[in-house]
């Protein structure tokens, strides 16, 4: 698995993983070029390109416009692409949110949650996490695939480590119960012996099998007494002395005291010591001497040093637990540390321990920071680091001296999620728990997620709205509006523009509509413009557009008076863009020349309106000629204006006649 991008040589991309370093030649790159440039895209993707000859000169950091550059996307897979791990991501997200919820409810003022009940909640969450990991390992094992071996190993180690953390930091069993719990830990995580035993029992004569004694000793060392007795029973029965010692061993095993929580430690200690004395006596009397295998078993039971059995252990701490089980089953956590020391030394000391052992060593020594740094450095499982750190931070803030480390891990994990094209929605929940920094990361990621359909964009916008990312929301709506207008979908463009709430952009888009009208003499999406509602007030150009459409629809419905009133209003208010005056003037001409509204008893235009329109005409003429407006009077416009003047004179005459007859008081002199 490629894990990190290490560096760029002239034209090789070098990437390093735990065990190998690989180089990739970027095609199209020549040794004479100025090396490679790189830009991060999102998570696990890079864009790599050959730098031109002049890039990187002092004062120049970017490729100049006009240079053509070939860009090569480089991306690498992460664990998350595996379906079994994906199930872990989905399932553990729910547990992560539960942890946040427990924390939130516990820190509410006046919370009545007792300390032990709270501890129980954390413990439940921890067990849920472990259940998820177990499920992953089961799914991976059920799906044989050569690539998965490493993953199975990774996640089995993850569960082992998590379990150890749970024992020492959350569960904290008391003396007596601790060793019992540690034995269970060993039994569940070092269970290769079960397979061996099964194989053995299928043999015709198990006790003749070369592995028989190893398996028996292993069972005893792991505290699996009943299985040891079952294996012991798989021998030919007989009455002679050779077989009697098997029965003696069996009775020793059956009499072995096993601590039950709630018992008195002192009493258990006494009983165990008495039993061990009995074992020692038998060993010293040479009862088991005829059978070396049984003698070794008896020595184990007597609590001897375990160095002769080193070959049976996979791990220093497996050995330590076995040592504790027989040397001091009532050990406390601190005593266990001491008991473990010689076992760790047998493996070469703390610095020579394997990946998993070194983490367990930190756990046993209550070094939480060490646990997290070793988990990151040696186990390399971002899921594990993030969730473990989060659980321990939430359960006890003193553990990690603040949220910085926890936030760091969670942000790294979220970055992994965002690298996968579908899992960005899961990343949101993690990022929102990381305070202001998380919010900034969220904004940066959301702005880079490609949204090819409106449904996806709507979901991204829901996230923006829920997290009050107002600027990003507006920006995404504008981008979509721009994309839709590029595709020729005017209606969509307008809707997204209004949703963005950006007035400047609305002006821009409204101008595009008007350009389109000037070219094709048809307004795009008229039925939509009819229904704009209060959003049309967002920008003056948009308001003009809506009003102009209203003018068209009034005219089509033959409501000439209202239409004329509207168009005149558009001219006399400052709403009409200057370059559209000729258009509106020619619209006026149509109405005035036709004599206005023939059906109405009052003349249209009225005298007052004639004066206003004449004023507009004059204003247009003078301002244009003086160069105060950015318009020019071309031939067609001049004709229109001339015709309009003529028509207005006639209309004024009609209007004045009406006024003289019907409204003599209103005549303007």
């Amino acid at each position: 698995m490629i894990e990190k991008f290490v560096g760029l040589s002239v034209y090789y991309l070098i990437m390093s993983s735990a065990s190998t370093t690989q180089s990739y030649v970027i095609p199209g790159c020549r040794p004479s070029d100025n090396g490679l440039g790189v830009r991060w895209v999102l998570g696990n993707k890079l864009f790599v390109y050959p730098r031109g000859a002049t890039e990187n000169l002092p004062g120049r950091t970017e490729v100049e416009a006009g240079d053509s550059v070939e860009v090569y996307p480089v991306s690498w897979e992460t664990d998350l692409y595996n379906p079994a791990i994906r199930k872990l991501v989905t399932g553990s997200r729910a547990t992560f949110l539960e942890v946040q919820r427990v924390k939130a409810s516990s820190s509410e003022a006046g919370s009545r949650e007792s300390a032990s009940r709270l501890r129980r909640s954390w413990w439940d969450c921890s067990r849920e996490y472990r259940e998820h990991i177990r499920q992953v390992v089961a799914d991976l094992q059920g799906n044989p695939n050569s690539d998965d071996e490493q993953l199975i190993q990774n996640y089995s180690s993850a569960e082992l480590v998590w379990d150890a953390c749970e024992i020492f930091f959350l569960e904290t069993p008391t003396a007596g119960a601790l060793v019992l719990r540690l034995l269970r830990w060993v039994q569940s995580h070092f269970s290769a012996v079960e397979l061996q035993a099964q194989e053995l029992l299928q043999h015709n004569e198990p006790h003749q099998h070369p592995e028989y004694w190893n398996v028996l000793h292993k069972f005893i060392l792991q505290g699996k007494v009943s299985q040891a007795r079952q294996l012991l029973g798989a021998r030919p029965s007989g009455k002679s002395d050779i077989y009697k010692i098997y029965e003696d061993m069996d009775s020793l095993l059956s009499d072995m005291p096993v601590y039950r929580p709630g018992w008195s430690l002192i009493e258990f200690g006494i009983r165990f010591r008495q039993w061990q004395e009995r074992v020692t006596r038998l060993v010293n009397d040479g009862v088991f001497a005829p059978n070396p295998g049984l003698e070794s078993a008896a020595r184990i039971l007597a609590g001897c040093e375990l160095h002769p059995f080193l070959h049976l252990f996979d791990s220093a701490y497996e050995m330590a637990v076995s040592r504790a089980a027989f040397a001091k089953p009532t050990a406390t956590a601190v005593e266990f540390q001491h008991l473990a020391k010689p076992c760790v030394d047998a493996y070469g000391g703390p610095s020579a321990l394997g990946d998993v052992d070194s983490v367990v060593h930190a756990v046993v020594n209550f070094d939480m920071m060490g646990v997290l740094s070793l988990t990151t450095a040696r186990l390399r499982n971002p899921w594990l680091s993030a969730h473990l750190c989060d659980l321990f931070h939430q359960s006890d803030e003193e553990f990690l001296h603040g949220a910085r480390m926890r936030d760091g891990f969670v942000l790294d994990y979220a970055a992994q999620l965002v690298s996968h094209p579908s899992l960005w929605q899961f990343a949101v929940d993690y990022l929102t728990t990381c305070g202001e920094e998380g919010r900034q990361h969220l904004e940066a990621y959301l702005s880079r997620i490609p949204a090819e359909t409106a449904n996806k964009l709507n979901k991204i916008l829901s996230v923006c709205e829920a997290n009050r990312l107002v600027g990003l929301r507006a920006s995404l709506c504008k981008q979509e509006a721009r994309r839709q207008s590029g595709l020729g979908c005017w209606g969509n463009a307008l809707l997204w523009c209004m949703r963005s709430g950006d007035a400047k952009f609305a002006s821009c888009l409204a101008n595009e509509f008007l350009e389109e009208y000037l070219v094709s003499r048809r307004l795009p999406v008229p039925s939509l413009l009819d229904n704009l509602g209060p959003e049309m007030l967002m920008a003056p150009e948009l308001t003009f557009l809506a009003k102009y459409r209203e003018f068209h629809s009034l005219y089509e419905r033959k409501q000439i008076t209202d239409a004329f009133n509207l168009v005149l209003n558009l001219l006399t208010s400052n709403l009409t863009p200057k370059k559209l005056w000729p258009l509106l003037l020619s619209d006026c001409l149509l109405i005035v020349e036709a004599g206005g509204n023939k059906d109405s008893s009052t003349p249209c235009p009225s005298s007052h309106q004639c004066y206003e329109l004449m004023h507009c005409l004059e204003e247009y003429q003078t301002k244009t000629e003086a160069g105060l407006w950015e318009t020019s009077v071309d031939g067609e416009t001049a004709d229109t204006m001339g015709l309009l003047r003529l028509a207005l004179v006639r209309a004024l005459a009609r209007a004045l006649q009406y006024d003289i007859r019907y409204e003599p008081d209103e005549i303007e002199t």
Binding site: A94, L97, Q100, S422, D429, N455, K459, L487
Partner: protein
């Protein structure tokens, strides 16, 4: 009512039941489609009642799908039509326990949002406002009728007589006559006030063909009476997250189901069966049949379908939910 959750491993964009022709066989098959995946797929599963309370879901067949499955519909027990985010409508046949693609109709470069089929016709509507009717011919789907709306069409309802009702992103409900020439709708109704809040889905009452319900981006449920002009008869506020899909119960249409962007699925019930009467709020009973657990409100439920007394939903948390005994 009991609920079974089944993890699918992909974000579920659309779900649908295959019609059951013979009630006595009681084998229920469902079709699910993924979205937003690097490789999308369409799957057919069998749903078997395990005990009184749970069901088992068994995967029968899966096929790769080009781009997101925006919508799917199963018009017959051996046929699925799907709407793709790439702009095509695909026809699949389910024969001998496997899915095969048997036709494609390319509508445009913009995503096809919804699709519905009344054999042999397939109606689809897209993000560019196009509404197309194509027919299953030998060798594939051929378009024979096309209309255009002013903006993205998100909701589609087609009845047996091929009367098409669409809901668009500008809050308008439009009726189209597929036999008439011309590009435009026969009638347009709008959400009152001219506010352009997009509609996401529409469904028709099973018995009262004039009665429609729509769900919108701001979480409102509107009821419309096609016999009246203009605006919806009733407007209800749900929660504030988008209503992605809704369905009337086909056999008992006094029940309506909606699924939302915050992961909730609600059952709405009007006591006297009349959704269009005034003061609907008084006679309305809302039961959440799926509630988002605390903190999981970002995982929306995208799609919903009902067969008999079983409801099926598909969600962004990569699972489907099956509710049995809903009425």
């Amino acid at each position: 009512m009991s609920c079974t959750k089944r993890y699918m491993g992909y974000k579920v964009g659309s779900v649908g039941f295959f019609p059951v022709l013979n009630q006595s066989t009681a084998e229920v098959r469902i079709c699910t489609g993924s979205w937003d995946e690097p490789e999308n797929r369409l799957s057919v599963c069998r749903v078997v009642s395990d005990t009184a309370d749970t069901v088992q879901v068994e995967l029968l067949s899966q096929i790769k799908h080009v781009h997101d499955v925006m919508d799917l519909h199963c018009p017959s027990p051996d046929c699925v039509v799907s709407a793709s985010g790439s702009g095509s409508v695909y026809l699949y046949s389910y024969v001998g326990n496997s899915l095969q693609c048997s036709g494609e109709f390319k509508s445009s470069e913009c995503a096809v949002n919804k699709v519905y089929s009344v054999i042999p016709d397939v109606v689809s509507c897209g993000e560019d406002g196009s509404i197309n009717v194509s027919r299953l011919e030998r060798g594939g789907l051929d378009k024979y009728c096309g209309k255009r709306d002013t903006c993205a069409v998100n909701g589609l309802n087609v009845n047996r007589n091929l009367e098409v009702v669409t809901a668009n992103a500008a809050g308008q409900l439009k009726l189209w006559d597929t036999r008439a020439s011309g590009n435009g709708p026969e009638r347009t109704l709008s959400v009152a006030g001219g506010t352009t809040v997009g509609l996401l889905c529409v469904d028709r009452h099973s018995y009262q063909q004039h009665s429609l319900a729509t769900g919108s981006v701001d979480g409102r449920l509107c009821f419309w009476d096609l016999r009246k002009e203009g605006t919806p008869v009733v407007l209800l506020e749900g929660n504030s997250s988008p209503i992605w899909d809704l369905r009337f119960n086909p056999n008992q249409p006094e029940f309506l189901y909606s699924c939302s962007g915050n992961g909730a699925v609600w059952q709405w019930n009007v006591s006297n069966g009349d959704w269009l009467a005034t003061e609907l709020e008084r006679r309305l009973d809302i039961v959440p049949i799926l509630s988002p657990s605390a903190g999981t409100e970002t995982m929306s439920v995208n799609s919903l379908d009902i067969l008999g007394d079983i409801a099926l939903c598909g969600s962004d948390d990569e699972s489907i939910y099956i509710f049995t005994g809903i009425v």
